[in-house]
């Protein structure tokens, strides 16, 4: 309400708002609601039979679980990469910086095939790991590897600018007040970058949940073990079971929405000090 009353520097609140709603409707809301309409053609019993079947539930657990672990790994190591890129003078820094974006640009299928090749029993990495009794390719572990790969740029790219803007003086102030390095990191630096880190985490998580191309090549796709939900949806589509596919998709959508919403709430809470 206040936004309308206050005259901003840029005019056209009404127009901008109208356009935004129209645009979001066309791009996001209408496709998503058609998904729900298609799902609604199923009876309640059929819907429940589809989404609560053991195979589908196993895929949900795998997809959300693996994506969570991948996003957590990215949260830790993405922060580290961003830290190194911002704080240290290292030779070839620009090149490393550019490398971070590669998972964005690479076709996901290419990433999947490459990773599968690397981690399979006779691949460059797989041949050293397999004798240790650890199988990565064609297991849930491989899924996490692929999800980590495609998620890393999100964390690095959201944390990096915030770290760059962080005043050096804050650390100096903490040191003058007697804080050691660990206390300075935990109590001064980390809280300052938490909102950005959460954004990066949420983006990496969302991307990993929806990831299809790179995962299916390395997953092995064994029902109940290493079958991700997006693959299950494709399988249903190939069997012309459109309603079944949309039913699974809408449950996935609901969960994703709830997860992202809760991350946003945490993020909003972590930004509470920024209010003016």
């Amino acid at each position: 309400m206040i936004a309308i009353k206050q005259r901003g520097v840029l005019p056209g609140f009404g127009l901008a708002m109208g356009f935004t709603i129209l645009y979001l409707s066309l791009i996001v809301l209408i496709p998503l609601s058609s998904l729900l309409f298609k799902t609604a053609t199923l009876s309640w019993v059929d819907f429940w039979g589809t989404v609560a079947s053991a195979r589908v539930l196993a895929s949900f657990r795998l997809t959300f679980g693996a994506a969570l672990i991948a996003a957590l790994i990215n949260g830790v190591f993405g922060l580290l990469v961003a830290w190194v890129l911002v704080r240290y003078k290292i030779p070839g820094k620009r090149i490393i910086d550019a490398l971070v974006d590669l998972p964005f640009a690479l076709p996901t299928a290419v990433a999947g095939i490459t990773l599968a090749g690397l981690y399979s029993s006779n691949g460059w990495i797989g041949r050293f790991i397999e004798p240790l009794g650890l199988k990565i390719a064609y297991t849930p572990l491989g899924i996490m590897v692929a999800m980590t790969f495609i998620g890393i740029p999100f964390v690095v790219r959201t944390v990096q600018p915030v770290l760059e803007d962080l005043e050096k003086e804050l650390e100096e102030a903490a040191a003058c007040l007697g804080a050691n390095r660990w206390q300075t990191f935990v109590r001064v630096i980390f809280p300052a970058i938490t909102p950005a880190l959460l954004t990066g985490f949420a983006l990496a998580y969302a991307r990993a949940i929806g990831e299809y191309g790179s995962v299916i090549f390395i997953a092995g796709n064994m029902p109940m073990v290493s079958e991700i939900t997006p693959l299950l949806i494709i399988t249903k589509l190939e069997q012309y079971d459109y309603a079944g596919a949309t039913a699974i998709a809408s449950v996935m959508l609901l969960f994703s929405f709830l997860i992202l919403l809760s991350i946003n709430l945490v993020q909003w809470w972590s930004r509470r000090h920024a209010e003016r």
Binding site: L170, E172, A173, A174, A175, C176, L177, G178, R187, A274
Partner: protein, 351 residues
């Protein structure tokens, strides 16, 4: 806690920030490091704090060498120009920070911390803002919180880097008077950096004038203002008029003032705008005829700009309001000026 600075030098690449600085800050004094930007004053302050390491030289706190000691072990309070408050912490948590990061054995209890924070809040007169975040405070309030935070751990030395530089004129003036009062109450040895000569003269017990990596003069505000050691200090501490004077071997004469001259019989006399007398009629042959070219009547000391008739040089004068009203000058009028209190610096031939 006195600070002894001996032979401190610091280079940044090819740039010399500090060149063999010796300085003693007596215990309990409030000392200003005054100089133009690039004079090395902030670097010196940061070296005292341990935020920067000197290339050569030593720092002693009361005879105890601290040159190699880490920042967090030096027990200095540092106040930054841009406050450097922790944005995600309330005013309370900011002030308490220094106490809460102490090793467990030395850490005061919750009640003690709270009592100390409230004591400091009283000192900075912000008791009612204890739960605010820095973003909800004005600049002046933020700087006071930063000061309280620096004082919370009872530092041996308080260092302030252009503490009022980011504030507007009014708040600035208020805060520096407040700082002076505060220092009179707590007597912690303090060093503050400023490029504002008014601030240094008003607040400090002792002023250290710096220029181009060297100390030009150390003295009380009166000393440096009234008896500047060299032309730089004279010019930096206030506005100045230059008079090129001729004299003979025994000394120059200008009106009633005598002053030494160099071998060519030429010297430059320095006169503050406040020491220029403006006369309607010439009183002696030495009085200089000049034309009024600009008048700024607003302010505590009205300023008049005059052009000398003989050589066209501009002379700035400031005169008390009452005298200004009596004279009732108008632009274009011809008057006479009489420089009083002329300062002359004998050129240094060692260079």
């Amino acid at each position: 806690m006195g600070i002894q600075i001996q032979n401190i030098s610091k280079q940044f690449g090819n740039y010399t920030a500090l060149d063999q600085i010796d300085l003693t800050v007596p215990s309990g004094e409030l000392v200003a490091l005054l100089g133009p930007s690039g004079s090395g004053k902030t670097t010196l302050l940061r070296i005292i704090a341990g935020l920067e390491t000197p290339d050569t030289g030593t720092i002693h706190f009361d005879g105890e060498e601290t040159t190699q000691r880490k920042v967090r072990e030096r027990q200095v309070g540092f106040v930054f120009q841009h406050y450097a408050l922790f944005r995600h912490m309330t005013v309370f948590d900011n002030i308490a920070f220094g106490m809460t990061v102490k090793p467990r054995a030395e850490r005061p209890g919750k009640a003690q911390i709270s009592a100390r924070v409230h004591e400091l809040l009283g000192l900075i007169q912000l008791d009612n803002l204890v739960d605010r975040y820095p973003a909800q405070l004005s600049g002046g309030q933020r700087q006071r919180v930063a000061l309280a935070r620096a004082l919370a751990t009872e530092p041996k030395v308080l260092l302030l880097d252009e503490p009022f530089g980011a504030l507007d004129a009014k708040v600035r003036q208020e805060l520096r008077r407040w700082l002076r009062k505060l220092h009179d109450e707590i007597h912690v040895t303090s060093v503050f950096v400023t490029h504002d000569q008014e601030e240094a003269l008003e607040v400090a017990d002792r002023v250290v004038v710096m220029n181009q990596a060297k100390v030009e003069q150390v003295g009380t505000p009166e000393e440096v203002y009234d008896r500047p050691a060299n032309p730089f200090v004279y010019g930096f501490l206030g506005n100045v008029n230059l008079f090129h004077c001729r004299g003979n071997e025994s000394g120059g004469q200008h009106g009633e003032s005598t002053f030494p001259v160099d071998s060519d019989g030429v010297n430059i006399g320095y006169v503050r705008p406040g020491d220029i007398r403006i006369l309607r009629r010439a009183e002696s042959a030495a009085d200089i005829a000049a034309e009024v070219i600009f008048i700024q009547g607003a302010g505590a000391l009205p300023r008049v700009e005059l052009r000398r008739v003989d050589n066209g040089e501009t002379v700035h004068a400031e005169l008390p309001r009452e005298q200004y009203r009596q004279l009732a000058l108008k632009i274009g009028e011809q008057v006479y000026i009489q420089p009083t209190n002329i300062r002359v610096f004998v050129p240094d031939y060692q260079i």
